[in-house]
Amino acid sequence: MLTKRIIACLDIKDGRTVKGTNFVDLKDAGDPVELASLYAHQGIDELVFLDITATNEKRKTLAELVDRVAQKINIPFTVGGGISSVEDVRMLLDHGADKISINTAAFNNPSLINELSRQFGSQCIVLAVDTKMHEDGENYVYLNGGRKSTEIKCLDWVREAMERGAGEVLLTSMDHDGTKQGFAKAITGLVTQHVSVPVIASGGGGKPEHFAEILNGLADAALAASVFHFGEINIPQLKSYLLDQNILVRQTH
């Protein structure tokens, strides 16, 4: 049986991890490769590197990082953040990224999704969507790292992007992100029901129970960042817990 996936996200700036970590055994807490190796060793199923570097000059640093990650890590990883062209994607895949995620640039230029999936295959194109619930009770798409609202409903955009060739959805609920009160069950479940590609839930995972809730039929994978970085959730323990809850995950030890 296919397992549910647990994914750790690392925010990257100028080739370094942005948020601190609590791991005392890391020689260099800011080195993404060292942190990624630790997670891989602990049995994380996938990694996402989200680059928040703005300038093109510093993109080279990202390519170097992707290369170092591919050299060291033998599990799949996605690179995202500010990707807006076929050239960006080609460079990242050539350096060893397995998938790339696109967000604002895809919304502003949806044909980019068609182009990318034609050139590189749907399997490596992850649509990242930031969403927030409005007063009417509907979830809408947000852009530019959540700073800009739109009038487009989340489900409508995800459906269009899937038709254009996106192979996976990374859905972040801004209402839940950072709260540690649990993932967004309603919107995640809705998207999972209506699209034929895997859905990764992101935002709000604070306790193992939250992962169990969302992975129980509402999402194919769950992503978190700081709860892993600060050791609030231990990955092997999380997996044992999920197995106890009859949620199939990959065991490595």
Binding site: M1, T3, R5, Q71, N74, P76, F120, G121, E168
Partner: protein, 198 residues
Amino acid sequence: MKLAVIKYNAGNIRSLQYALERLGIDALVTDDAEEILGADRIIFPGVGEASTAMKFLKEKNLHEIILQATQPFLGICLGMQLMCTHSEENDTDCLGIFNQKIKLFKSIDPLIKVPQIGWNEICDLKSDLFNGVQSGSYCYFVHSYYAEVGSETIATTDYCSSFSSALHKNNFYGVQFHPEKSADVGHLILQNFLTIKG
């Protein structure tokens, strides 16, 4: 050991090169017939779409070179699929090494997604390729098409139904999953391929 990775238009192979490096192998990535057939081992990678890949192989005459291989040969993902007779992906005639047709997953459950993306178990292991690998070990899969279970099957996996996650005939091996992305299990399988006898 000389290991050739067949170079064609099929996705990124950097991860595969690095996985081989971790095994002490500096792979030669090439589309040259002499270099390919002169190697001790050949790997035929693949991420992409079947008809485009076959067209490219034919343009470079690689389809005939592959059939001439007598050394251990490993197809990965699309590489394995192209070693079968035919693929439903854009109705493509393939190399015909394995007597298998490649079909599209048909999911009737909205919660079973196509493509299959993620970690799934490999079972019924029947080859030296899996020496030291336990049945039920997890490997990383990314695919929408699959080979059915047949006489050449050396590993099975369940998704929608049971399918061939690995095939073997003579010196030819194929795996549907990505050993280069399958953590320690994948490392062991690649290591076995380096020591396997024909």
